[in-house]
Point group: C2
Chain length 367, copies 2
């Protein structure tokens, strides 16, 4: 036992020396010195080997209850926390998942991010958030960052990565999830809604309400889901023998909605039913229709949106819309990332199609 004690003492001195050297590495700048407790120190205090400490914090490893108790006690006392950078290095699994997104402050985006981060946390992962803008290489830069931090996966909510960089990710063993982007990349999970069918159901509702002159208000971003809604709406209208007035303008914002109202409601044949590709557009559209054109909704004009953002339920809008199943989307993504899924199943589940539920409120007559 005495020998062990001496050994422990020696170990302690070594650890202490290392800390000193570490903190002096940058000259005298003490503020720089990050001095975290290491497993070695815990081991010394608990009187066990460093491996025992490691095993204590590794689920499924073999440690006796007695050793575990001693280790946990020492760790608690010293404020020890496993270094996930080092663990990630060894395990080849960082626990990091990158969320790549633009227009983060938008209601729909932020609620999706909330659901994703929450469910990732529950699954023992952690979210890194990377902002992109409209510029070209933006998503690629974000993916590069994901690679640098050896993220286990990246979830792309906006934009599309370059083929080559996406392939680099996959080759490196990183998983890729694309939400609402239609890409043909092999090996990625693609989550989409039944936008086309949903748009068709809007036509039905408009027709039931007795509307004759349909219109579609879109942004000119031309993302796959927006275009799918447009196509679905057009096709269903054609099936009912109805023409559709289409306008596209700007991003999917409230302001664009106002502009689109300006464009559509000043047409010779004023529409009596408008499907806005997005709730934000719909809110802007509604406000313009009411306050600038003094139209009453739904008596003179029926309006539908898409996303079911919180504002759609506010009494000033009371908008009939489609709910984005954000929780289900997040669940699909996170469970696909989970390790319990074997590779054949993962392969076969590379594309998921979720249902957008119609949320009936007061902006369409009848119901």
């Amino acid at each position: 036992m005495i020998v062990v004690r001496i050994a422990n003492g020696a170990l302690h001195s070594i650890a202490f020396l290392c800390k000193l050297m570490c903190s002096n590495r940058h000259g005298g700048d003490m503020a720089q010195g990050k001095i975290y407790v290491s497993a070695l120190e815990v081991a010394e205090r608990a009187g066990v080997s460093r491996s025992a400490v490691s095993r204590t914090f590794t689920p499924g490893a073999s440690v006796s209850p007695e050793t575990r108790r001693k280790v946990v006690e020492a760790a608690e006392a010293l404020g020890y926390h496993v270094n996930h950078l080092a663990r990630g290095l060894m395990r080849n699994e960082s626990g990091i998942v990158c969320l790549i997104v633009s227009d983060l402050a938008t209601p729909y985006r932020s609620s999706l991010i909330k659901a994703l981060t929450q469910q990732l946390q529950n699954a023992g992962k952690i979210a890194m958030l990377i902002n992109t803008d409209r510029s070209d290489g933006s998503v690629d830069l974000a993916l590069r960052q994901a690679i640098r931090y050896r993220a286990d996966a990246s979830i792309i909510l906006s934009g599309l990565p370059d083929k080559s960089i996406a392939e680099l990710c996959l080759k490196s063993g990183q998983r890729l999830v694309l939400i609402n982007r239609n890409d043909e990349q092999e090996g990625t999970l693609k989550i989409n809604l039944d936008d086309r069918e949903a748009a068709g159901r809007v036509v039905t509702a408009f027709v039931r309400a007795g509307c004759k002159r349909l219109a579609f208000a879109n942004s000119d971003a031309r993302t796959p889901s927006l275009m799918a809604r447009e196509e679905g709406f057009l096709n269903a209208a054609k099936a009912h023998g109805l023409e559709v007035a289409i306008e596209r303008f700007g991003g999917t914002t409230y302001e664009s909605g106002k502009v689109l109202a300006q464009k559509l409601m000043t047409r010779e044949e004023r529409p009596d039913a408008v499907f806005c590709a997005t709730d934000l557009l719909a809110c802007g559209f509604l406000d313009a229709a009411r306050h600038q054109f003094s139209l009453s909704v739904p008596e003179e004009l029926c309006v539908a949106g898409f996303d079911d953002i919180e504002q759609a339920s506010w009494s000033s809008y009371n908008l009939t819309t489609f709910s984005q199943p954000v929780e289900a989307i997040a669940q699909e993504a996170v469970s696909w990332l989970g390790d319990e899924m074997d590779s054949e199943l993962r392969q076969s589940r590379s594309s998921r199609r979720l249902h957008a539920e119609l949320v009936w409120r007061g902006s369409i007559r009848g119901g």
Copy 2:
């Protein structure tokens, strides 16, 4: 030179062998194997030492232009990206900053997060996002996660950490920023607004508009900034010799705003001016006042909010409010985290007070 070549060949074999072992570590599960390119492989291809590769990607290190060229070329060809986990391990500086936040999907919160992630990215850092809920140890758990990933800093937007865990962070060399939380923790950066003074300016505006019966609508969350607004409003009203009707209810949500309207507008002495502690509350309040009590704003009722969320500018609300200087807040936080600030300056700047600008719109008479 021949000797060198042989050595390179040997190195290559070793690296290759390692990769094989690595990919076989988990039985035959090939999907698991993360096979990233390492600096060693780049070095072999470029015909230089591994340190040269390292130095090439370390700003300020000494490498000849010729070597750099060869390295960059090889790295490009192989798709090499520096492993930030390993770099963080060595440098004691991960580049990670944790954002700890609840109610992430709320307009004000999400716009602050957007500003923060953006500016962190510009400063060469990267944001980790951790969701908290109302439960007690939630923030502590988040900070533990920040410690595990050896984050350079944590920015807390909601809730307050336990004293002991905050101290552990600081002792470990992690930086702590508290936004809109009044805490006495030494060594942290505290960013606050002039809530009290702002609330006073609302009173002035209400008095100028000829309002007599003031009211304050608050959530019952009792966070420091909310209480500061309440106090400021009360004090200023008292200075004008006016009483204030106060109601507190629920979280800072749209729904709570409606309930608060219910409570305040059914009072015997119906208020003719209401300051809502938050824009979300104000939106709910406005909708209830208009649609349930058929009041016209601002003719019969003046309303003010706080935060200047996007919806406040929508024509249905057109709310007079105070802007949260999110970009300035983010800038303060990020520049404080930056390494160029020396420790005395950082110490002396441990508390920042920013100005909330009054945004005049149509929910108060006059202006």
